[in-house]
Amino acid sequence: MTPSSSSAQPTLIEQWNQFWFTPIDPATLGVVRIGIGCMLAYSHLVWAIGSDAFFGSQSWLNASAVTAIGNGSWSTSPLWWLQESPALLGLTHMAAFVTAICLAIGLLTRAAAIVSFCFVLAYAHRNPAALYGFDQVIGFMTLYLAIGPSGSTFSLDEYLTPTRHRVRSSIGANVATRLMQLHLCVLYFFAGVSKLKGVTWWNGFAIWGAIANQEYQTVDLTWLASWPIIINLMTQVSVWWEVSYPALVWNRHTRPVMLALAVAVHLGIGACFGMLTFGCAMLLANFTFIPPHVVRTAVTNLKTVLNASSKRQPHLPPMEVTPLPTT
C-alpha cells in the first residue's frame, strides 16, 4: 500500500462517524412511523377487547403469576394500579390508541412517540407471558421512532411547519434508522443461528412443523406432504436467508434479494400461519433498508398519479340557481 492510498483510507473513527452521523432525508423513517403507529393502534384496540381478561383485578395473570414468571423490579407497570377500575382502564386504552394514531399521522410526533413507547412498556410489563415476536418488534421500533425526528416528513407536523423551517436532512434520522437496521440484523442473526441447533432445520423438514401445526395453520398446506422437495427448499432457504441476512443486506447488490425474501417469508408466514401482524411488523423493520431517496421519489410519483387521477374525474355541471322571488 502506498503512503498516499493509506492516507486516503478513512480511519475507524471516521467510518463510525460517517455511518452514524451523516445527515439523511427522514423519508424512510416517516413511512416507518406511519406503519408502526397504525400497528400500535391496532394492538391497543385488541388489548382493549381483552381488557378484563388481561388487565382486570381477576385476569389471566395476577401479581403472583407475574412475579413467578420472573419479571424483575425494573419491569413494573402502572396498569396494576388501575386493575380495580374498568373505567380508568378503558380511558387508558383510549389514550394509548389516540397516542398511537397521533404517531401514525405525525401530530406532535416526538411527544406521541415517547408516550407511545411508555404505553408499550406499561402493557408489556403487565402481561409478560402474553407477548410474542410482534410485541418485541413493535417495542424496539417505537423506541427508535422516539429517538429520531420521525415526524419531520409525511406528517401533520410537517404540514403545520412553515416551509423554510422544514427538515430535509437530519443526523437524528440517520441514528434512528441505523439503530432499527442493526437491531433487525441482531434479530435475524440469532433467529438463524438458534435454528442451527435443530435437526429439522438440517434435514429440511422444519417448515413441515409449521405447516402441520394446527394451532398456527390458517391455510391448509398439508398437501405438501407429497412434495418433500418443496418443504426441503422452503426450510433451507429460510434458515440460510436468516443467517446471511446481517451480512448481505448491507451490500447494494444482494440487498434486493434479501428484502425480496423477507417479503416472501413474512407474507407467507402471515397468510398461512396466521401471523399477519407479526409479518407486517417485520416488513416495516425491513423497510428501513430502503434508501430515503427511493422512498421520496416513490411518494412524489404516487402524489403525481393521485393528482392526475383526481383531475381526470368528471366534474358535475354547475347547478342552475334560480333566484328566489322577492316579495
Binding site: L61, S64, S170, I171, G172, A191, A210, N213, M275
Partner: protein, 229 residues
C-alpha cells in the same frame, strides 16, 4: 423550536464532538446490551450470563430482553390448556384456550396462545414447579370468576405434529394419538386447591403410548411427566 420538527439547530447539536462522543458511547453500550440478551439464553456461558446481568435492569426496563429464538431449535408441538368447569348447580362444561372461535381477532388468539405456551415452558422445568403452580392458580382463579363456576380443573394439552407420512396415511392433524395431556390441578371458588392425583403427578412417566414416530419433538424438551389422555 417545536415538538413537531427538528430545526437546523438540533442537527448542529450532533456535530459537537462532545455530543458525538457521548452518543457513540451510548450507542455502543446499547448495541452490546441487545446482542448479549440472546447470547445469555440457555445454554449460555457464565461470561455471557455475568455480562447480561449487568445490562439486565436496562434490558428489562426497556423491554429489550429478547432471545429471538423463533421456531428454534425445531418447530415443536403446540401447547394448550383444557379446562373443566363445575357449577354450583352441579352442571359441567369444558373449554380450551387458545380457541380461535372464542379468541378473535387473531392477535388476541396469539396472546392467549402465548399464555398456554408459557405454562408449558414452566412445566418442562422441574425446578420451576412453584412458578408453574402460581401461573396455573392464576389461570384457575380467572376462569372461576369469568365463568362464575364453583370448581375448575386444568390440563396442559400437548398437540404433537404429525409427520408427512402420518398425513399421507390419512390421519387428521387432530387425531387423538397426537394429543397428550397432563393435569395441572383443580381450583375451587372457596380457595381449596387440589393437586393432581399421585398417579397423575407431573413426575409420572408416560404410561401407554410411545412417542416414537412423532416428529419435531426437540430432544431436550420432552417432559417425562406427560400423561396420555
Amino acid at each position: 423550536m417545536t415538538l413537531a420538527s427538528p430545526t437546523a439547530a438540533q442537527s448542529e447539536v450532533w456535530t459537537r464532538p462532545g455530543v458525538r462522543t457521548a452518543a457513540s458511547v451510548l450507542i455502543a453500550l446499547h448495541l452490546m446490551a441487545i446482542v448479549v440478551a440472546p447470547l445469555a439464553m440457555s445454554p449460555a456461558s457464565p461470561l455471557m450470563v455475568s455480562i447480561w446481568s449487568c445490562f439486565r435492569p436496562y434490558l428489562d426496563a426497556f423491554y429489550l430482553n429478547h432471545g429471538f429464538h423463533f421456531f428454534a431449535p425445531d418447530p415443536g408441538p403446540s401447547h394448550l390448556i383444557r379446562y373443566e368447569l363445575e357449577f354450583a348447580d352441579g352442571s359441567k362444561s369444558e373449554g380450551l384456550f387458545p380457541n380461535p372461535r372464542e379468541h378473535s381477532p387473531r392477535l388476541l388468539y396469539h396472546r392467549h396462545f402465548m399464555l398456554s405456551e408459557y405454562a408449558n415452558r414452566l412445566a418442562v422445568d422441574e425446578s420451576r414447579k412453584a412458578d408453574l403452580d402460581a401461573l396455573t392458580k392464576s389461570f384457575g382463579e380467572y376462569l372461576l370468576t369469568a365463568h362464575n363456576a364453583a370448581r375448575v380443573t386444568l390440563h396442559l394439552r400437548r398437540h404433537y405434529i404429525p409427520t408427512p407420512e402420518h398425513v399421507l396415511s390419512g390421519l387428521a392433524l387432530d387425531d387423538p394419538q397426537f394429543i397428550h395431556e397432563r393435569p395441572l390441578g383443580t381450583f375451587a371458588a372457596n380457595g381449596v386447591v387440589t393437586a393432581p392425583a399421585e398417579n397423575e403427578s407431573p413426575s409420572a412417566p408416560i404410561t401407554e403410548q410411545s412417542l416414537d414416530g412423532l416428529a419435531f419433538e426437540p430432544a431436550d424438551d420432552i417432559p417425562p411427566q406427560l400423561v396420555v389422555r
